[in-house]
């Protein structure tokens, strides 16, 4: 078949970001709900920001300040806090400690301190233990479920009087001139062809003096704002896709385990993790750069194959997979940070700004810390009654002067070298960069957006899940708790010229089985979508949809 050979370039088939829908330069509805500061996204960044701001305001009022009642809002698309939150996770506790100086580590919603760690290089049958690279040393950090952290932060925020609106995705930024004035939420209760059903809820406008975009990875409004203001980064942001499972096991796992090598092809960037949440509750996952080189590369399937390796099989066999999820991770690092992460009436924090350090696999503490910086900047701006870009640039200065920027800068080229060199050369260079704190091989490496990387068209290797240790995508999506209405309108914008080859690419790219190829046709099942955003990186554009749709993670 001629279309089974050659190359496919994702960007050609990708629809542009629908800026006209995402940025509305119109006055808010007369019935708009007024907030002073609105955090768009109830993850670690948005909630830490809301908590920090509420405390600053409270302290100021107690000291006789003149701010008075400051309405702080957190808008979250998931039906409940934490349901769309997913991370490894081994968490550096520095940010949560400084957010709650009055609490101790045992008060925090962590599962356990890291007791031991091992790194392996895998072949298809063997596991060779290698020394733990300095960047991956996790002593002093904590194993945690991000869902649990987020729910805990939510309770703290509510206790401080923060307005938490769950089930309300922000679907557009409202703007007046260049100034962000708030957001409009997505409507709910529409039928597949857009008719208003009995449960129809119209969009609501929320105004704010300051809107803080904390949408998480591949934030839609964040992308739109950066594109609109032309302040995107020098290097394009690049992403990895992580697919994660939680298992109840009969055999305990005693240490944090990371692996490199198999089942990833040599020209793929990525690796796996396996963490003990409790003795017999194990989180494991596989993270693969979305600049992979073959149309048939399939992260979900690689994870399934990986579990057949003795290293994993020994722990998982006879256990039960209780939860499944997936999420992209911004991996571009230092050079992919937006030129500005603030503007008139707006700041961008957390994963939406790209605050992830890939060599150490960390982002949660950067997200929280950036939220806390944004809170300080918002507080100062409110005090000065000036929420312009000039006032909010204090936020960028705080980030740039902090461990967030210095950590990312130290490892600025580690991920990028993997786009240029093969695994071994890149691994060697990464080692040199680590040892020298990035001083050697520190020149900026240009990178490509993932969608600009062309893929060799390859037929997939057949794989049949056994339903016990390995699972199909449909079975997996079921374990994500996804109960999205079947008759929801599609939130995915499919681009032009979708050939069978492109349909194949999409079906392998998406871990949740949203895309299938049926003959020559691309079949889209939007209700399967679990908001990992891989589709937005390589395929059809993701846009906000009815609140409460998507996964319902519990301990991811």
């Amino acid at each position: 078949m001629p279309d089974r050979t050659g190359k496919v370039l994702p960007i050609i088939h990708q629809a542009p970001l629908p800026l006209d829908r995402l940025i509305l330069t119109e006055p808010p509805d007369a019935e708009a709900v007024p907030m002073d500061v609105l955090f768009v996204g109830g993850g670690p960044a948005g909630l830490a920001g809301a908590i920090a701001l509420a405390r600053l305001v409270k302290a100021d009022n107690a000291a006789g300040g003149d701010l008075g009642d400051v309405q702080i809002g957190v808008l979250e698309k998931a039906g409940a806090l934490g349901e769309h939150s997913l991370s490894g996770a081994v968490v550096n506790p520095n940010a949560i400690r400084s957010l709650f100086p009055e609490l101790t580590d045992k008060d925090f919603p962590f599962r356990a301190p890291v007791a031991g760690e091992r790194v392996y290089y895998l072949t298809d049958s063997r596991a060779v233990r290698i020394p733990t690279p300095p960047t991956m040393q996790n002593h002093g950090f904590f194993i945690a479920s991000l869902c649990e952290i987020v729910r805990w932060l939510g309770e703290k925020a509510e206790g401080l009087g923060v307005n938490i609106f769950t089930g309300f995705p922000a679907s557009s930024l409202l703007a007046e001139g260049q100034r962000v004035t708030g957001v409009r939420t997505a409507p709910s209760g529409l039928s597949r062809n857009g008719e208003q059903g009995s449960a129809y809820t119209p969009p609501t406008d929320i105004t704010a003096q300051i809107t803080v975009l904390a949408e998480g990875t591949r934030g839609t409004l964040s992308q739109a704002y950066l594109e609109w203001q032309k302040i995107s980064s020098d290097n394009p942001q690049i992403f990895a896709l992580g697919v994660k499972e939680i298992w109840e096991t009969l055999k305990p796992l005693d240490a944090v385990v990371h692996t490199l090598g198999w089942p990833l092809p040599k020209d793929c960037f990525g690796g796996s993790f396996m963490y003990p949440l409790t003795r017999n509750l194990v989180a494991l996952g596989l993270v693969v750069g979305l600049d992979y080189k073959r149309s048939s590369d399939d992260v979900h399937e690689m994870l399934q194959r990986m579990k057949l390796h003795p290293l994993f099989r020994e722990i998982l066999e006879s256990g039960e997979m209780v939860e499944w999820g997936a999420k992209t991770i911004p991996e571009g690092g230092y050079y992919a940070l937006p030129k500005k992460r603030h503007g008139d009436g707006v700041m961008i924090i957390g994963d939406s700004a790209g605050f992830v350090e890939v060599a150490s696999l960390k982002g949660v503490h950067y997200a929280m810390q950036s939220g806390m910086f944004a809170a300080r900047a918002a507080f100062d701006a409110l005090k000065r009654k000036d929420t312009s870009a000039a006032a909010l640039k204090e936020y960028d200065a705080m980030v740039d002067g902090s461990f967030i920027a210095s950590d990312l800068r130290k490892r600025r080229n580690m991920r990028l070298t993997f786009q240029r060199d093969n695994f071994y050369v890149a691994g060697l260079k990464a080692g040199i960069m680590t040892v020298t704190g990035g001083a050697l091989l520190g020149g900026k490496i240009e990178s490509h957006a993932d969608a600009d990387v062309s893929r060799d068209v390859k037929p997939p290797e057949p794989f049949t899940p056994d339903g016990k240790l390995t699972f199909s995508k449909l079975d997996a999506v079921f374990k994500s708790g996804n109960a999205t209405r079947d008759d929801i309108p599609s939130h995915l914008i499919v681009g032009p010229d979708i050939t069978p080859v492109v349909a194949d690419l999409y079906s392998h790219m998406c871990p949740a089985g949203v895309y299938e190829r049926d003959g020559d046709r691309l079949v889209v099942s939007p209700a399967n979508c679990i908001d990992c955003k891989a589709t937005d990186v390589l395929g059809p554009r993701w846009t906000p949809r009815e609140g409460g749709s998507g996964p319902k993670y519990r301990q991811m």
């Binding site: 089930g167 309300f168 709910s188 301990q555």
Partner: protein, 250 residues
């Protein structure tokens, strides 16, 4: 019209439950809680009546520890006017003890209508509504799937096995709500804001000694592998026999 709705906070059922170490309760770690669906429909029914009858007021009442305030707030954010928490650390399984506690509170409110969900999925007993009606001496219609109120009396439809019943009743009355009566509204953003300012009264609950004691909880045994009875229509008589004698479902 004065309307009361009794609501319960229940865990999401779409999980594998674990039994807590005390053996008599479900391990709540990792469970998500929300208002019982049947109760949400009851709230919706009350709100629709209030909106049609000027000067009406809807009160929600929930029995339990402080976490039930979340459930009450949810109802308030849907549009309910005020909330009452009957505070207790632990809600017993015993429906009569619960009904007695609720009826003491309801008695004082002189409500025209008192709504309950017809059951909650956690205890799956479905008795508190009609028991409360009895204790209050009020007419009661259970499991309604349609409702009209006019001129001080009501008309409701009940779904029975293979039949439907239309009943008439005088006010005041107790009604329990089945699926199909309505679709509950989601709280609006404005509703969530407004709910913060609505009154939520906390009163200590006086729960009488229960007559029921949960001795233990266990998970049902796993399915054992089944068998193929035969091929084609010829296997039907054997199947019917097994359904009657072995499975006892026919």
């Amino acid at each position: 019209m004065k309307i009361a709705v009794c609501v319960k906070r229940v865990p999401d059922m779409d999980v594998r439950f674990r039994i807590a170490t005390d053996n008599v309760s479900v391990d709540e770690a990792g469970l998500k809680f929300d208002i019982n669906d049947f109760d949400a429909w009851a709230v919706e029914a009350a709100l629709q009546l209030r909106d049609k009858n000027a000067g009406s007021e809807v009160t929600v009442i929930s029995l339990g520890p402080d976490v039930v305030q979340e459930t009450i707030r949810k109802a308030l954010s849907m549009g309910v006017d005020r909330g009452i928490q009957l505070k207790t650390d632990k809600v017993p399984f015993d429906g009569l003890a619960i009904a007695k506690t609720l009826s003491e509170e309801l008695k004082a409110g002189s409500y025209d209508l008192i709504f309950f969900g017809k059951m909650s999925p956690d205890t799956s007993n479905g008795v508190v509504g009609p028991m409360t009606a009895e204790l209050l001496g009020l007419p009661c219609v259970t499991a309604i799937s349609s409702l009209e109120i006019a001129d001080g009396k009501g008309t409701a439809k009940r779904e029975l096995e293979g039949a439907q019943e239309i009943v008439e009743f005088p006010l005041p009355a107790v009604l329990t709500v089945d699926e199909g009566l309505n679709t509950a509204r989601l709280p609006s953003l404005k509703g969530i804001m407004a709910a913060k300012k609505k009154p939520l009264e906390v009163k200590p609950a006086q729960i009488p000694a229960p007559q029921l004691t949960v001795r233990k909880l266990e998970l049902p045994s796993e399915r054992k592998a089944g068998r193929v009875v035969g091929e084609g229509a010829a296997a039907v008589p054997e199947l019917v026999k097994l359904l009657q004698t072995e499975a006892k479902v026919l």
